[in-house]
Every structure is written in structure tokens, then in C-alpha cells.
Amino acid sequence: MANLRAIRMRIKSVESTRQITKSMKMVAAAKLRKTQLAFGRLRDFSEQSERMLCATASSGTGENPFLTRHETDARVCYVLIVGNRGLCGTYNHGLLRFFEALRDKEQRETLLYSVGRWGKDLIGPVDRHFEISDTPTAEEAAQLTEALKELYRSGGADEIVLVYQQFKSVLQQNPGTRTLLPLALPEGEGETQVIYEPDAAAVLDRLTELYLETAVRSALLEARTGEHAARMTAMTAAADNTEELIGELTLELNHARQAAITTEISEIVGGAAALRQEDQTRS
């Protein structure tokens, strides 16, 4: 009987795990939809700002500190965008491994900025840390962008690279990098007939500001979208596993119950047979 009770208790605990994983999956799915939507809306804006920036920059009439390389190339700053939580498969660990390999190969002096709450102990010492919510807002992106721009402008870093999980599909995210600064732009058609008001430099300033903010925000959104997708996938697998486990345990429970019943019956039958034998010998 003790065995039966133990199995029942295990089933109960697995059932509560199933409840938790199922609700986590649902929450992740809702957040995924939200970030994916925001990411989609931002894409249009980012494409337009990139096109305008390319055209303005290649007209060659303005200078901008973010478009020019520093003379030295001694220090690189990595911005590592990890998730806010665990329980999302290999999302965080895969990224960390990718980053460590990258850092080991790096010849230059490196700075590390981290974004996201996960793995403070695993990542090790960082130069600066930023907290970003699960659905990054424009304000959060602006704050991070401002810090990165300041770092580049002051000469604290000669290159700034974002390292994050790039979103391919709900089932696939690949760790990758994107160089934020100095800005490397594809060649646009130089439109010489365009009037710049008040002048090309001012327009370029404003455009780089918009473009950088958009680039940072879209990287944050992409990373978060991947995180929610990875968590949803992991939690779906976990919920499926609990179903399977419950099935196995129920089978085991039935076996044990049947065994207990069989034992009881054979005890009764045995007892009855013994009594009958006793009666026969007495008569």
C-alpha cells in the first residue's frame, strides 16, 4: 500500500509541474506575439531611416563622428544581450559559449556591457550592466543607445559590437554579432540634387541618431523575441514530457494496484482453503 501512495504522490507532483510549464508556455507565447508585432512595426521605420541615411551619407557633403573610424583600433566593446530568465533551452548558454569563443579570439582590449538579468555569476565581471524589460520600449533603447554613443564619442571604445541571439524562426535562433559603431553603411545612390535644410551635417546628425536608436531597439526586440520563442519551445517540450511521465506513472500505479488486489484475493482464497481443510479433518 505504501508503494501505491508514493506513486500517487509522484503523479500529483508531476501534474503540478505540468500546470506550471503549461502556464509558462502560454505566457511566453503572449510575450512572443507582443515582441514580434513590435519588431515588425519597427522594421518599416528602420528600413526607411537606413535608406535616408545611406543617401545622405553618400552625398558626401556632411561629416559625422559616428560614421568615421577612430584612428586607433585598440579597444572593442561587446554588448552581450542575454535573456531575463532561464528555462529557455540553450538560448542563454549557447549565446554565452559563442561570446566566450569570440572573446578568446579577440586581440584587442575588450570591454563588456551586459543587457538582461540572466547569469550574473556565469558571465563574470562586466563593465556596465543594463536592465531591459521583456518587451523593450523606445525609452529603454534610447538609454542604452545614449550610453553607447557616449562611449564611442569619448574614445572609450573604437568599435561597439552587439552580441545576441538572432531570430530565424520560432524554432531557431542563432547567436550572432552586429557592429553598431562605427556605422558601416551600404553604398547608396548619391543624390546630388537634394536640398539639405538647414545643412547636410545637421541632417546627418539627426539621421544617425534615429538610425542608431532604431538599430539598438531592433536588436533588443529581436533578442527578446528569440528568448520568448525559445522559452515557449522549451516549455512545450517540458509539458509534453510531463504528459508522458504521467502516463507511465499511471500505468505503474495500475500495476501496483492490481498486484495488491491479486495478493489480497490469493490471501482470501488461501485462507478459505485452509479453513475448509480444517473442517474436513475435524468431521
Partner: protein
């Protein structure tokens, strides 16, 4: 009558897509009116009010700073945030 296609776009999606006849932009060097067949131009936009008018009505959009580009009767305004004001 010729019209200009006005797009006001923010990071959170388009705020206004409307064929208009006249647009007034708050720029760094003051208020700027744009009519059809304007020469190609890119200018900086300051926080303020964009007013536009078309045959069927008019509207105002409060925007933050950004840039505006006019080309081939397409006026694209990229700003960090924008809101159409209901009168």
C-alpha cells in the same frame, strides 16, 4: 488636383498615411510649408505640430524631433513619436 502622399512613421508603426494638398512642418529653421511638386529635400524636424490639409479635411499631428524627406510628391516624416490630434 495634384496631391502629396504624406507618411508619418514612428518606431511603433505609421501614424498617418494620407494624400494631402498642403503640409506645414515644424523645422529647425522655422515653420515650412510644402506644396505639390516640391524640389527633393531632406530637412530636420523639431518637436511640434504638423498641420496638413486636403480637399476633404485637415488634421494636426503632434510629433517629436526627427527628419522629413520630400521626393516625387512623397513626403516621409520619420519621428520618434507622433500622435494625431482629434479636434
Amino acid at each position: 488636383m495634384d496631391e502629396i502622399m504624406l507618411h508619418i512613421v514612428t518606431g511603433d508603426g505609421p501614424v498617418l498615411e494620407q494624400a494631402v494638398e498642403y503640409v506645414n512642418l515644424p523645422t529647425t529653421f522655422g515653420s515650412l510649408g510644402v506644396l505639390t511638386n516640391h524640389a527633393p529635400m531632406v530637412c530636420t524636424v523639431e518637436a511640434g505640430m504638423i498641420r496638413c490639409r486636403w480637399s476633404g479635411g485637415e488634421t494636426r499631428v503632434r510629433v517629436s524631433s526627427g527628419v522629413a524627406s520630400v521626393e516625387h510628391n512623397e513626403l516621409t516624416v520619420l519621428v520618434s513619436s507622433g500622435q494625431v490630434l482629434e479636434d
